[in-house]
Amino acid sequence: MAATTDHEEEAEQKAPSPPPRRGRIATAVSVFGELLITAGVLLGLFVVYSLWWTNVMADRAADKQGDKVRDHWADNAGPGALDTKDGIGFLHVPAMNKGEVLVEKGTTSKVLNDGVAGYYTDPVKATLPTSGKDGNFSLAAHRDGHGAKFHNIDKISKGDPIVFETKDNWYVYKVFSILPETSKYNVDVIGQVPKESGVKKAGKYITLTTCTPVYTSRYRYVVWGELERVEKVDSERTLPKELR
């Protein structure tokens, strides 16, 4: 009996137009097969969505918001007008080769999915470099999909520059420590004095966090830098020498 069913199946696969009457088992098997194919196609489409389409959408959103911030700066809304809603500045990391990354407030997926980097407000509040105070400017961005702004975080090595651009200043940081893998519960890495990086006293630090290994969220990858100098932005917005 089973052998007959198998034969029927094979015959059906070869001839796409089925005979008018089929056994009940053959129909069930064929529907089951179609469901499996459908599931496979769905998973494939999901990969296309997360690794390609979300990047398209996020880059579009980030460009739009970035242009808005630049326009805003050009219009000169007066001193002290820190517009945290559209973004506070741009991150330039030559080693990551991703161009400028807009920085906005918060690390919820709603913020990060627009292809920007977000500074932490929770569980440890980031200290903005514009405040001039000692502390940690902690940032997060996507490794894959949604702009994948920190995709090449593993290309950063010690000594590489990280430059944060605001309306008035270039904040030039130098990477001094890298943690290639840590638990996602390790909130100490974004502490005001991130001890795991080897520092002991308060200073002006920057921390980049994202997920690792690529295409998963199992661990976190952390890069620390320390402020080296602050350059005033001139009228032509001449890039600091690290970005030239």
Partner: protein, 53 residues
């Protein structure tokens, strides 16, 4: 399943193929616009932050 849909579409083979294509595109649109954005946060691929929870 798909055979059933094909047999119930009107017109000749070309018209049916065209309608099928439109149906497929509609399904892909709904998936990309509504289903995947909903499903994505439920899957463990895109958490990039550290947090205490």
């Amino acid at each position: 399943m798909y055979g059933w849909i094909w047999r119930h579409l009107p017109g000749n083979a070309w018209v049916r193929a065209l309608i099928s294509l439109v149906l497929v595109l509609a399904v892909v649109y709904v998936l990309f616009q509504y289903i995947f954005p909903w499903a994505e946060p439920l899957l463990p691929f895109n958490d990039v932050t550290v947090d205490g929870q």
